[in-house]
Symmetry: C2
Amino acid sequence: MGKCEQCGIRQLNAFKELTKDELIRLSLCKSSKEIKKGEVLFDEGEHINGLYCVRNGVCKVSKMSDNGKDQIINLIKKGDLIGERSLISNESSNLKAVALNDVEVCFIPKEEVIKNLQRNPNFTMGMMQKLALSLKNADNIIVDMAQKTVKQRLAVTLLYLHENFKTEEGINSIHLTREDIANIIGTATESAIRLLSEFKKNNLIDLKGKEIFVLNIPKLKILAEGL
Amino acid sequence: MGKCEQCGIRQLNAFKELTKDELIRLSLCKSSKEIKKGEVLFDEGEHINGLYCVRNGVCKVSKMSDNGKDQIINLIKKGDLIGERSLISNESSNLKAVALNDVEVCFIPKEEVIKNLQRNPNFTMGMMQKLALSLKNADNIIVDMAQKTVKQRLAVTLLYLHENFKTEEGINSIHLTREDIANIIGTATESAIRLLSEFKKNNLIDLKGKEIFVLNIPKLKILAEGL
DNA sequence: CGATTGCTTGACCCCCATCAATCCTCGTGG
DNA sequence: CCACGAGGATTGATGGGGGTCAAGCAATCG
């Protein structure tokens, strides 16, 4: 089991604020976990009782709607924390997290997180800034959902994937299914598929099997923002 | 000018965690402000450099979409804080706040808030919990926007208004226009109006001028959740 | 008392959800 | 090694939801 004080991933989140002593203490109580593709890290309503830190891989974070569809709220990757919201509110989770590929996470028990929040104001401030950023992103998504067409939202999502997950193999290195993509956008799977092939016809993207290649970022941006 | 240590409104937010000394210090640096109906408390892109605490009245909090529509993200009332997100992120505001009726707010300068965050862990925890709650609410709104029909969202909104702003005069004591309601739901004004009169025909609500009376909460709930 | 702002209703039509059928692609077991 | 089954991808057809334009009405205000 690795040691937190030697783990570079903490530079990507609030744990960078911890002192060496605090990191050593963290190493003693944290646990590591491996999750295979498709497995559930935690589900809605579950008491997480701690905080997950993603070391590797990608999870989709979703919430079930009344109509039975899983709306994907977020994609989390290396360095991201998940579970802080429920931890701070002292509630069970309002979200579900599922591995899109093989994922490694560390789990830090709630008591240890709270202890650090009480002792280290810099750590607390880091966590607050993370929450504040999440809130801003959420506000942006609300506006997009409310005001943009499905086509625009697909363009936004493709640009987001391109920005965050692009490899030489395409922008879908995390193996989202068409249904996943539809559940990010908030539309029917068939609609997403139809728009993808329309985008391909217009040479905005290329499709090779399930993989997606962005060909024309500027035009996608124009599409995403207006008519 | 009132004194914070005698102000009961702090019981409604994180300021309840401040000590008497801290409250007295707060009184010395805070300022009060009155905003008339329709006036702008702050706009997108503005540097707020502090935190507002609503003493009275209601503001609509919105964000401009690329298509030029103001999507209403939140309605804030007595006891609510606004500006914390930008303060913590050290950014200019991503939101706009406009008074729906005459509003009184207190303004606390950034430096004073930061000082209290550094010194009083309980206050910090209170602020974090507020952010965490806002985030959960935002997640719920995203799911509703993505997965519910306009009709369902109107039902949700009417129930929300009933829950939070109902008086004997109806549920629209804060004088939202039809356009405002449409901008909460994320639809065209005409669509919102049409659905309101449909709801009236079905005896779910009653309309007297601009005022709205909820007649059948259970049916509205059923409508809001499914078919 | 005009004039601006908000409310309401009608007409039109496109976007998109839904249902259905087919094709493709794997992983599994015979 | 191949057959087959299951889940995913794709395309077609169809109908309704809801966006948009336009016109008329009501209310509020300087």
